[in-house]
Amino acid sequence: MFVLSFLARRLAQGAVIIFLVSLLIFTLLRVVPGDPVRLMAGGMAPEALIEQIATQMGLRDPIPVQFGRYMARVVQGDLGQSFVRPANGAATGGANFNDTTRGERAKVMDLILDALPMTLQLAALALVFALVFSSLLGIAAGLRPGGIADKLAFTVSSVFVSLPNFWLGIVLALLLSVKLGWLPAIGYGGFSYTVLPALVLAVELSPVLIRTLSGAVAAQMGESYVTVGQVRGLSPTRIVAAHALRNASVPLLNLLGVQFSSLLGGVIIVEYIFDYPGLGLLTINAVLQRDFPLIQGIAIVTSAIFVLINILVDLAATSIDPRLEY
């Protein structure tokens, strides 16, 4: 019962968030300069034709009207059609302005659904790498503040956080793929193509995980139930394993929820560098082609995923710590 009402409330809040995101991205795309029709129709198209196409597509209506029309479709699950991508897959620049038969344009939803699993695979692997590494270092650091592990964690996280992901991607591709030939790098041709991008992402993710975890563990070790536990007769191992880590995992979970969007930000760059056919590559291409419906669709889908992940995170956190309110 509690869970149901919690879900209902959070989903309602989530709907508000997604609505705000749609509004934001929709407005932004229309108020900043840059006309997608010009790009679609090609540089040579006469002004009158561009106006005609734009009017046909409703791009000259007032923004609230456009937005209303758009949202009416979104709530039915229709994210619209790409401006530039044909339904058969390959991206076109839209050089030929006569070819505007709308039926052949790809559906935004399909494009996203094709790319999403690839990105999820990448993100999941990166998360596994990052969590394993950060837990080892972060817990060791938190148990002994000021010790060797703590110093190591400090240095490692300071260096890792200073590595720009695009540069690290290039360097690792050069070393591991070109020079050593251990891992494939560019494009996608099987699971092994995921490893290198995931490593880059893991390096980007782990500093904040390490810091949060070591801080949380150290804070828990200072709680009175830890010291009192020993006086009550519990063994130190048991106190750490069954109590301190359990409590310290709550801030980590919350962090994962918040960090989701920076993970996705990293994914975009990494996919671009490794030419990995996921949501990130799709985003960058959409932006470069001014493919408004696709950009909007991606923003809505990512914020929906964000909302869902945060609901899951909160459910998990609440099941660990019942004091957190549903």
């Binding site: 019962m1 509690f2 009402s5 919690f6 209902a8 409330r9 709680e223 009175s224 139930y225 010291t227 009192v228 536990g229 020993q230 006086v231 009550r232 007769g233 519990l234 063994s235 048991r238 069954a242 109590h243 359990r246 409590n247 709550v250 660990i320 710590d321 019942p322 004091r323 309110e325 549903y326």
Partner: protein, 611 residues
């Protein structure tokens, strides 16, 4: 019989670079089986460190300089950790912070079972669970089987302390170290806990080392008392002898400082009879209620009502020292916020000089602020951390439109003189000042606006006895000099007895009794007042015994109020009418009121308000 615990020549040092200090020096004493030994001393005297040394819990920056703690003839301080852990079965510990003692994310019962299994591996999990439930029941935790699965945050402080006593006693230890166990609890709950501990030692054959900063509390519990002053054991005597014939000067001072309630007649401000007419009231509450909406856990958008203050009506006259007393959760802090217009009531009106303060705004509000000032509770929290003392006292004047820097400075100096603060502190930060000095700054900040009414929100409760005496004398002086009216919000009846002429007792948001000082302490009209009096820590012969005045149990929740009288769940005199009928304030004699069915002559609220 050989002692269960004997401490010999114990010395403990603090080894923090730059702060080296001896905490305990040459402490020696014994505890016999089944004996309750009290340890008292001022805060910072080293009691807590002693109690931790006894359970072998001394960690850096504390180090053991010398001595032994012998338990059944083995020196605990040199035992390897593994063997010490085995001994935890026989030496148990309960501390002053019940809410922090258990992992907040796991059910209480499960954690007690975990402890049994750690110290007594031979007990099976199922058996352990049964034992925990049985013992939870024995310490009178209601519906123990259900509470077993509750989380620490669902327990009140008193309930949690009981659960921790269960946790300590579950392995049937030979020695229990109780470090200030009653400190965070309300007096009535503390009285229950002490009673419980005495029963348990008899049932379990356990000796107790009962550490407390309050001599009355320790004397309530222990048969023999050790007095510690600045790390040294200065006196050791059986309880009665210690109180009647203290030998060491520190003990004598300690005994002398315990406030007397009934044996001394205090000089409280007397308000002239003619000033008592209702139209001369400086502050009046008329049927004031405050209800908060709180979100109901686990509902979509549901809220429930928390009725913090219910239908409070009383008058305060010029020159009064009025007290509002009650335990935590009784609504006195809400009442303070209503009186100072930090909040507006949801029902009724608060009148100042006959005008509704909720309607003030702008210049009128500022004038009201000048008239009524607040002196706050926490001497550390109530001063902005990074502001000089002079600047802090100037701020209210600037807010009220003073511009001339010279005049402001003169005024602040005057007030500092008035409250006994050296003017040399003007440009300093409040760091390093004692709690008493900080409270003087608080008083000065209120006095700088020349108010007529001072609202004292637990102003003295953070101070020790000596400081309290000094500040009370200061308040008395200020009252005479400036014709002030005081409203004390307090839980401390002993202080109220010394300082106030008229007292309102609150329970669960209602005023249950309103009476003059003498009447309230010698002839209380409401059973709850009697309970409070019976639970007061004092060395005098009690007029009321806790056994007669208080049933087990906790105050009900202000979200889910019971029908009828709110005190009936803990009242030994409750009868059928109390379940259904809510008692009104009834007049006793000329001007005292109590809300109990046992007081005859029920009257309506309007008459009550006119008193």
């Amino acid at each position: 019989m050989s002692p269960v615990l004997s401490v010999r020549g114990l010395r403990i040092d603090l080894t923090l670079p730059g702060r080296e200090r001896r905490i305990l020096d040459d402490i020696s004493f014994d505890v016999a089986p089944r004996e309750i030994v009290g340890v008292v001393g001022a805060s910072g005297a080293g009691k807590t460190v002693l109690s931790r040394a006894v359970v072998n819990w001394i960690a850096p920056p504390l180090t053991i300089g010398a001595g032994e703690v012998r338990f059944r003839d083995r020196n605990l301080l040199t035992l390897p950790p593994r063997e010490m852990r085995r001994l935890r079965r026989d030496i148990a510990y309960v501390g002053a912070n019940p809410m922090g003692a258990l992992d907040p994310t796991l059910p209480v019962g499960r954690q007690i079972v975990e402890k049994i299994r750690a110290v007594m591996p031979e007990v099976t999990a199922a058996e352990a669970q049964d034992r925990v439930i049985a013992l939870l029941d024995a310490v009178r935790i209601p519906s123990a089987r259900a509470r077993f699965h509750d989380y620490p945050s669902q327990f009140s402080g008193g309930m949690m302390q009981r659960a921790l006593i269960v946790d300590a006693m579950i392995s049937n230890p030979a020695l229990l170290v109780a470090d200030n166990v009653t400190q965070p609890l309300d007096v009535t709950v503390a009285a229950q806990v002490i009673r419980l501990m005495r029963e348990l030692t008899e049932g379990f054959d356990t000796a107790i080392l009962f550490v407390s900063s309050s001599l009355p509390v320790a004397s309530e519990a222990a048969s023999r008392i050790l007095v510690i002053d600045e790390g040294r054991l200065v006196e050791e005597q059986p309880t009665e002898a210690l109180i009647s014939a203290p030998r060491h000067p520190y003990t004598r001072e300690l005994v002398a400082q315990i406030p007397a309630i009934w044996s001394v007649r205090p000089t409280v401000p007397a308000v002239p009879r003619e000033a008592r007419r209702p139209d001369t009231a400086i502050v009046s509450l008329r049927d004031v209620s405050q209800t908060y909406r709180v979100r109901t856990r686990g509902s979509f958008a549901g809220t429930s009502e928390l009725r913090a203050v219910r239908h409070v009506t009383f008058d305060i006259h010029k020159g009064d020292s009025f007290a509002v007393v009650g335990e935590s959760g009784c609504g006195k802090s809400t009442l303070m916020r209503l009186l100072s217009r930090l909040e507006r009531p949801t029902g009724g009106t608060v009148l100042c000089d006959g005008r509704d303060i909720a309607r003030f705004s702008g210049a009128e509000l500022l004038a009201f602020r000048r008239k009524l000032q607040l002196v706050l509770q926490d001497p550390f929290d109530s001063l902005p951390p990074r502001t000089g003392i002079g600047a802090m006292l100037e701020a209210p004047l600037r807010t009220h439109g003073w511009r001339d820097a010279g005049r402001i400075r003169d005024k602040v100096r005057d007030v500092m003189n008035d409250v006994g603060l050296p003017v040399s502190l003007y440009d300093q930060l409040p760091l390093g000042l004692s709690a008493g000095q900080r409270q003087r700054i608080n008083v000065a900040r209120a006095m700088v606006l020349d108010p007529e009414i001072l609202l004292m929100d637990e102003t003295l409760s953070a101070l020790d006895q000596t400081e309290q005496f000094k500040l009370l004398a200061l308040f008395d002086k200020l009252q005479r000099a400036h014709g002030l009216t005081y409203i004390y919000i307090s839980h401390d009846l002993a202080m109220v007895r010394k300082a106030c002429n008229r007292i309102a007792v609150m329970y669960l948001g209602e005023v249950v009794e309103l009476a003059d000082n003498e009447r309230l302490f010698f002839d209380p009209g409401h059973p709850y007042t009697r309970t409070l009096l019976s639970a007061m820590p004092t060395l005098e012969k009690r007029r009321y015994r806790p056994e007669d005045c208080l049933l087990e149990g906790e105050p009900p929740s202000p979200i889910d109020l019971p029908t009828g009288c709110s005190f009936r769940s803990r009242c030994p005199q409750a009868f059928e009418d109390c379940v259904t009928l809510s008692p009104h304030l009834a007049v006793r004699g000329t001007r005292d009121l109590a809300a109990c069915h046992l007081v005859t002559e029920p009257v309506t609220d309007s008459v009550a308000g006119a008193a």
